[in-house]
Amino acid sequence: MLRDITIGQFFPGDSIIHRLDPRFKIIITIIYIVMLFIGRSFWCLLVGAVFTVMAILLSKIPFKMFLKSVKPLLPFLLITALLNLFLVDSGETLFQWRFLKITEGGLNISVFMMVRIVMLIMGSSLLTYTTSPITLTDAIERLLSPLKKLRFPVHELAMMMSIALRFIPTLIEETDKIMSAQKARGAEIDTGSFMNRARNMIAILIPLFISSFRRADELATAMECRCYNGGEGRTRLRQMHSAARDYIALAVTLLFLAAAIVISILTK
């Protein structure tokens, strides 16, 4: 159950998408999101869809993993779709039963929003699937570094982010272990009455909190032992270099964006 969580999961590989400069990948993802939200017609979405499929094929990551990334957000998707379906009132009425009414406009918007959100999730999953969390936060740090002039703690923010990302799988594993241990002592977690289950959550949360604090403490000590004192004057093991392929990828993305803009103006 807990193993299904794929947020922040990284699939090592050597595809062209993996090799792109992470800074460019973040910018491209932002442009991609703009591309998805710029138009109001299905033609615009088609441009986005072509882009998504192309990127997914280039990444050589099985399509199944992208479906898996959508799965946890399915309830949210369904609620959005249902709300749009029943609440938008425009165009021809297709179906009516007492106060429930489905109109053509509602159906359109409902499908449109679904597709848009699914593509949004898939696109951002592609970013995390092909970029290791560490390089990702490195790239964010570099992209935000102009804010340092405004005394914004960019490095500290990036460090906190990478630590948080780093510990997601660890905490999942830890939770799994503690759950098993308490189940072995007869705690009802998946079964039993609601009150029992709620009470047994305490048996999981307290050990989890304690071990998180312990881990944080150990990590702080380990960092201090290695003379960590913030980002000032710190050099990097991996330098980021942009190559021709990064600029080409950016250019292609901008082309798609331009196409989306043109189509959205034409279909207005």
Partner: protein, 287 residues
């Protein structure tokens, strides 16, 4: 009738994904009541996955686990009862402690069994003394205790359910020699008093050789062997090949045999080695 039996037990992690991995592969086992079994295997050999099947935490992909001759998955709703009959102590069990007092934490399992206060009290006091926790510790917070004491509290928490089969996953990992000996001797005493079946997973051959009846060895998801101690350590070369080790004293006697001094017996405890050497020396009239 064996108390615990597996038939063609197979378990695959994340089937159908790129991470698919068979952790336990067609394991057939039979464990009799009252046995003390050592479980060995290199890291990732599937021993932890295997023992999590015995109390129904994992459900086999295929195959069966029989507890007292009955398939534990026959009735899914009764799986909790299986967990009370087969107690499992995880690695570093002190990390699962959560109650305010030692007493309450040990009582967590028995309470889940729905026992009455008197019975719970009897069990907590009994297991605390079994595992060597002084009574005045019972009202203390478990988080104030030393590492070894915490470990013993956690083990007591499972023992207090009075399971017919007690499984301990590396109960001595990360403890100093004194703490290790203490836990092992308490487990041994518990075994002698209750005559319950015990399985101990351990990396330390010295720990296991001393008091196990049989040794179960896992290798690459398969059962390598499950046999008497002397027979297992008799296959020292094979054990070394699969990344395991034999007790140091066994190695000494193997070297002696290579040098032509053969005692004709497998030696795996220091005490027995001493006895054997003294007898030999007496026979030769050098003592």
């Amino acid at each position: 009738m064996p108390i615990l039996e597996t038939k063609g037990l197979t378990y695959t992690y994340s089937p159908g994904t790129p991470f698919e991995k068979t952790a336990v592969d067609h394991v057939d086992l039979s464990i009799s009541e009252g046995e003390l079994i050592g479980v060995m295997g290199h890291t990732g050999s599937g021993k932890s996955t295997l023992i999590q099947h015995f109390n129904g935490l994992l459900r086999p992909t295929s195959g069966q686990i029989l507890l007292e001759g009955k398939d534990i998955w026959e009735d899914k709703t009764k799986i909790r009862d299986v967990r009370f009959k087969v107690g499992l102590v995880f690695q570093y069990p002190e990390y699962q402690i959560f109650e305010e007092t030692v007493y309450k934490d040990i009582a967590f399992g028995p309470k889940n069994m729905g026992l009455d206060e008197n019975e719970i009290k009897r069990r907590v006091l009994e297991t605390a003394s079994d595992i060597g926790l002084r009574e005045e510790l019972l009202e203390r917070s478990p988080f104030e205790l030393s590492g070894g004491q915490k470990r013993r509290v956690a083990i007591a928490g499972v023992m207090a359910m009075e399971p017919k089969v007690l499984i301990l996953d590396e109960p001595t990992a990360g403890l100093d020699p004194a703490g290790r000996d203490k836990i092992l001797s308490h487990i041994k005493a518990y075994h002698e008093r209750t005559k319950n079946t015990i399985l101990i997973v351990s990396h330390s051959m010295e720990d296991i050789a001393g008091f196990a009846d049989r040794i179960l060895v896992m290798n690459h998801a398969r059962l390598f062997c499950c046999d008497e101690v002397k027979r297992v350590f008799g296959r020292a070369e094979e054990l070394t090949e699969i990344g395991l080790d034999v007790p140091q004293i066994t190695k000494v006697f193997m070297r002696l045999r290579q040098k032509g001094i053969d005692f004709g017996k497998e030696v795996y405890t220091v005490g027995y080695a001493k006895e054997l050497l003294l007898r030999e020396l007496r026979e030769r009239g050098r003592l």
